[in-house]
């Protein structure tokens, strides 16, 4: 049997654009350009490398939970070389929080069938970095997360190994499949889709799923079902304009003067 890899990818508002909250205090996804989260490109890349290391004996499914436009994220991942897509889309999903999303992803991953789930280190909008741990908990499989290096040995019954560079130590980890991994932006540059890849992606299958297909009730997800509530969102006041001086030989001294005035020296 070939290795079944599911890569979780998120469609996010472009971080270099102006990001906002909508009136219901959910992330505004209508008025801003969206794209495949850059940090999830690393997950797609590592999945492709694992497949290549298995001499192609693997199938990569890219999975997203998100609005209609999230299809763009799937197409990008397919154009990089993933084999097929799964898009969970349902009006009742609007406003779903991390716990809800993990429920939907877990059910969708199970329905798709998997030996290995690959996630990014964090989404670039929510930046929680907890989804992979939540998924592992829900699926009841090992969590091998925040890896800067990852490899799989021995196919679907094999093991996954990785290196985790933590705050205080570097750890080498190992777990039997099935497992959930997440990879960091230190794992290696993601490839650019080739022209051939972009053309091929157009013909790759994308399955659409609704909550019904996953046996999830509407009140388990969405704003109403959320475990958390944003009560206020205020734009941070712009920092008051500071003093800017041009160095004419005295820049270091002037800076020291400022720091001394602020009691840092």
């Amino acid at each position: 049997m070939s290795l079944r890899i599911v890569v979780c990818v998120k469609y996010v508002p472009d971080a270099t654009g102006d990001r906002h909250f909508a009136e219901d205090l959910t992330v505004d996804r209508d008025d801003v350009d969206g794209l495949l989260s850059e940090l999830d490109e690393y997950a797609v890349e590592q999945a492709l490398q694992i497949k290549e290391a298995a001499d192609g004996d693997a199938e990569i499914t890219v999975l997203t939970v998100g609005p209609e436009d999230a299809n763009d994220a799937l197409r990008k991942a397919l154009s990089m070389g993933a084999d097929k897509g799964v898009h969970v889309e349902d009006d009742d999903l609007h406003g779903t929080d991390a716990l809800g999303t993990s429920l939907v992803l877990a059910k969708a991953v199970e329905k798709t069938g998997y030996d290995l789930v690959v996630c990014g280190m964090a989404s670039t909008d929510g930046t929680m970095g907890v989804l992979p741990a939540l998924l592992a908990e829900r699926l009841g499989v090992p969590q091998v997360t925040q890896l800067s290096e990852v490899s799989v040995d021995g196919g679907p019954d094999g093991t996954v190994k990785g290196r985790r560079d933590g705050d205080t130590a570097t750890e080498h980890l190992e777990a039997s499949l099935p497992a959930v991994v997440s990879v960091t932006d230190q794992s290696g540059e993601a490839r650019y889709p080739s022209f051939k890849g972009i053309m091929a992606a157009k013909k790759k299958p994308v399955e659409s799923l609704e909550l019904d297909d996953l046996d999830i009730e509407a009140d388990e997800v969405g704003l109403a079902g959320a475990w958390t509530k944003v009560e206020e969102a205020a734009e941070r006041p712009a920092r008051t304009a500071g003093t800017i001086v041009k160095d004419e030989g005295e820049g270091g001294k002037q800076l020291a003067e400022f720091l001394a005035g602020q009691k840092f020296i």
């Binding site: 907890v130 741990a133 969102a233 003093t243 800017i244 820049g251």
Partner: protein
């Protein structure tokens, strides 16, 4: 008063500063009960009591070190069941967030990560977060179950508030299912002798403008004169000039010091995401148009190789 569980981040019983901040925040919503896993509880207990822990629940088992994250979730869950707390607070480290997330699933609760402040509210604790690269401030709360909240370093000033800090042994059974991810080897990071990046009161960071690993001592010298930690932009890290553990930004460390000095850093949104909440921001950049100048309290347009050494000398002179 309701009890609040505080997950202790420590190295062999040496309690890290963010935990003391958690204890301070916990006292706003209840009585802190510290959960100390691994060795050193007796050493830690004194510090924890000093900062308000009424009790210290402790457990030590080889599984905490031998397997990733899940055994610690088993232990925290045992503490949760023993105490029935009003909230569970953890530090916003990679591991803290993962432990909190898994506990939240198990106890059917919501989770808030990366809080920068916490206050009591009529309907439970209200967490302040800084989102979209710190361009928005939000206030949120948890609507289901027992709030699980992870808090960023430097979110509160640790206050002394002596309490009993009675050490109690916690009975923990690590489930077989929690032994899925083996830690095959662990290499502790060597200490540089400088303050920890996320905890430091002052951070001095260098970017692409530093132009080579061989020039980073210029940044380090300024940092040392101020007793500061050293940071780097991703461009400097990707170029191999400075270790990734020192990266500041979205995919590196998020810092919120009293003073942040950026030298040779343009101020891209992903860098700002990790430093924008710093109290005072200073930049040295030879390009007057660099976006970092939009954030600064004081900026010097100039060559960092002139300005930084001059500043270092001046700091040393003034400090005598």
């Amino acid at each position: 008063m309701a009890e609040v569980l505080v997950y202790v981040d420590h190295v062999d019983g040496a309690v890290r500063k963010p935990t003391l901040e958690l204890l301070t925040l916990a006292r706003r919503i209840g009585e802190p009960v510290a959960v100390h896993l691994g060795p050193g509880a007796d050493t830690a207990a004194a510090t924890l009591a000093e900062h308000g822990a009424v009790k210290v629940l402790t457990a030590d088992a080889p599984e905490f070190a031998d397997y990733l994250v899940a055994p610690k979730v088993d232990a925290l869950q045992a503490a949760y069941e023993a105490v029935s707390p009003a909230a569970v607070l953890l530090p916003s480290s990679t591991e803290g967030k993962e432990i909190g997330a898994r506990l939240a699933v198990r106890i059917g609760s919501g989770i808030i990560t990366d809080a920068v402040d916490l206050e009591a509210g009529d309907e439970g604790p209200v967490a302040t977060q800084s989102v979209f690269a710190a361009s928005y401030t939000t206030k949120s709360r948890i609507t289901k179950g027992t709030p699980v909240i992870t808090v960023k370093p430097n979110s509160a000033a640790p206050e002394a508030a002596p309490a009993a800090g009675t050490v109690e042994q916690l009975a923990v059974t690590v489930a077989d299912a929690s032994k899925g991810t083996k830690v095959v080897s662990r290499t502790p990071r060597e200490s540089t002798g400088r303050p920890d990046l996320t905890e430091a009161a002052i951070v001095v960071s260098g970017g692409r403008g530093v132009n080579g690993a061989e020039n980073f001592p210029v940044i380090e010298a300024l940092a040392d004169s101020l007793g500061a930690a050293v940071g780097a932009s991703r461009a400097a890290v990707d170029a191999g000039w400075y270790p990734h553990t020192n990266q500041v930004g979205q995919t590196g460390k998020s810092v919120s010091p009293q003073l942040y000095i950026a030298a040779g850093i343009s101020g891209a949104i992903q860098h700002r995401a990790g430093m924008q909440t710093s109290k005072t921001i200073v930049a040295i950049n030879k390009d007057a148009e660099a976006p970092i100048f939009d954030l600064v309290d004081y900026g010097v347009v100039g060559d960092l190789f002139e300005v930084v050494p001059a500043l270092t000398d001046e700091v040393k002179t003034r400090k005598g």
